[in-house]
Subunit: 349 residues, 2 copies
């Protein structure tokens, strides 16, 4: 079990999806957060949805008093480079013997200065996004006996990982041996295994998704719940969504949306409606193995409780599917509603 | 100008898409082919559609009499590894001072034995598929002033590259400064520039497509015709198709199909119909920048002339679009039919 310091200066409140995910779902513990903007507060003061009283401090040096064993790079900026002014803080952590855990595209373990410092300090750098060599897609996930569920969405950062984790927890509470399949850096940090599929060479990305599903089956997963990525109409990241759509061989889809999101974040593109998103995914899968959308998991965090209930009701009405916010209102009801639909399907060929 | 020996033992006739493309379209010249199965014949005897009398021989050693300057690995097997029994032939070529040109996923320039031999022989290894570092997708191709055309299809190896090359030639004959945008290893070998997008890390694949379109604009392309890859419902390679669909920012699509293809080659998945393929692509693009399908380019190589004309007529009737086989019957008519539709479109947002 790691004891993490999270490095997220000036980003912990608004732009630290990785850190929030680890604080909420990982078995590793966060003992402090570095963000001068909120120094003196605790995690819960800044992110009310996180049940943690870990202190927020200004520097890594200050955080050392809480006996951390590892430094977590708490954010994944666009392009995945380490912000230059974070370098000194990473070096302080290495010099103090902390393991460095990073989900950046920039591989810190290939940085000469960091590598040398880690060797001298006798510690290691875990680049979570560094993919293994994977074989090309072979269709082996289509032979998995347990039903496979994939979370899909109409943008990045709407809660596909969170919905998958909550559904897995609900399935386990219902007595199932559900397995979460991590496909992104935060998911990998939470589960302790997996592959950041966005970092795999495009031709091998479906093969990576397939390997993950096969591994989840080997671990006894039933159902197997795959963390989705991006959106099929995401200008920058649709490639990763497409790789997961076919590589993971889903029997059922769960649609994850933020009902207030009208445009793909940071890009000049509209989000698809619920009906359009469902239609595009089901239409593409129909040629390989048909998979119905069985539920909608809404992320209503930015809405009042009343508005959230209205949006959930609208999603139900518009699609005829069970819908809920599995974080806000719990996942048990939604899981109970979809459990009968989580059955093995066969390819149409 | 290179003088190529093509290495394709037991594959030149049926499985040497790369070699056939280079023989037909590259300015570099093929002076001999190595394939013991057809030794003694010439290229045209084995592949009637290729206008070349280059001799076919049994070994690289025999081919040296034709004064080659480079060895082309003439095929791209699934998974992209060098067949083990080809190793000795590659070494013979290196020892004779030939440049090695390879589109395999296996990077021959990283192979210790090949690298050492090339250093000793004073020659080089060009791994065409080795991608450069590219920035993340930024949308810059959406600012290109010239109209952008993307060839899309319902499977791999149906002729998307060939159709793009023929349309570019027809546009040039019509007085336009058309540019072909190479996105796969054969296209790169033919054009002498480009990126094999399937080899780019998934998160950066759309960014690679965008860089290529921007480069084609810098070269004065008008129209810019992008070589498509795979299919949106291809279980193994949809990721690459999705990256090109958004990264290349098309204003128009040309649908390329083999009318006899009912299933995705080597995979348990049905091909989409013309109408379905058109619908899926246009639907996804509608959220970013709408682009109509303006023509259908059929690959009728396996059909009689009469059957080919029937299939072309059926494609026209079913879709209402101009259709033709641009290799068999020439691309001038199809280009003339679509030229008025090659106009700049703006995003819907």
């Amino acid at each position: 079990m790691r004891r993490y310091v999270v490095l997220a200066p000036h980003r912990f409140e608004r732009d630290a999806k990785t850190a929030h995910g680890v604080i909420r779902y990982a078995s590793d513990r966060v003992v402090a957060v570095v963000d001068p903007e909120h120094a003196g507060k605790c995690v819960r003061d800044v992110a009310a949805h996180l049940d943690s009283d870990a202190p927020i401090v200004s520097t890594v040096a200050e955080a050392l008093q809480f006996d951390p064993t590892a430094l977590l790079i708490g954010t994944a900026p666009k392009g995945g480079a380490l912000p230059p002014d974070w370098r000194a803080e990473v070096l302080t952590a290495i010099d103090a013997g902390l393991e460095i855990v990073s989900g950046l595209h920039d591989m810190l373990g290939r940085d000469d200065e960091f590598r040398a410092a880690a060797l001298l300090a006798g510690t290691t750098i875990w680049d979570v996004r560094e993919p293994p060599d994977v074989p090309i897609f072979s269709g082996s996930a289509y032979d998995v006996a347990a039903p496979i569920v994939l979370t899909v969405g109409n943008d990045c950062a709407v809660g596909k990982m969170t919905a998958a984790l909550e559904i897995v927890r609900a399935a386990r509470r219902a007595g199932k041996s559900a397995q979460f399949v991590p496909t992104g850096q935060t998911g990998v940090m939470i589960a302790g295994w997996g592959i950041a599929v966005d970092r795999v060479i495009a031709d091998f990305a479906a093969g990576a998704a397939e390997q993950l599903v096969v591994e989840a089956a080997r671990r006894g997963g039933d159902p197997i719940v795959v963390e989705g990525q991006g959106a099929m109409n995401h200008p920058a990241y649709a490639a990763v969504s497409a790789a997961l759509l076919f590589g993971s061989a889903p029997d059922a889809l769960i649609l994850v949306c933020d009902p207030t999101r009208t445009h793909i974040e940071e890009y000049d593109a509209r989000c698809m409606s619920y009906a359009q998103t469902i239609d595009v995914h089901e239409r593409l899968l129909a040629y390989v193995k048909p998979a119905p959308t069985v539920a909608i998991a809404l992320n209503t965090r930015s809405l009042s409780v009343d508005r959230a209930r209205e949006e959930i009701e609208r999603a139900r009405r518009e699609t005829g599917l069970p819908a809920d916010d599995v974080v806000r209102f719990g996942a048990d009801d939604l899981y109970a509603a979809i459990a009968p639909a989580l059955v093995k399907r066969t390819a149409p060929v």
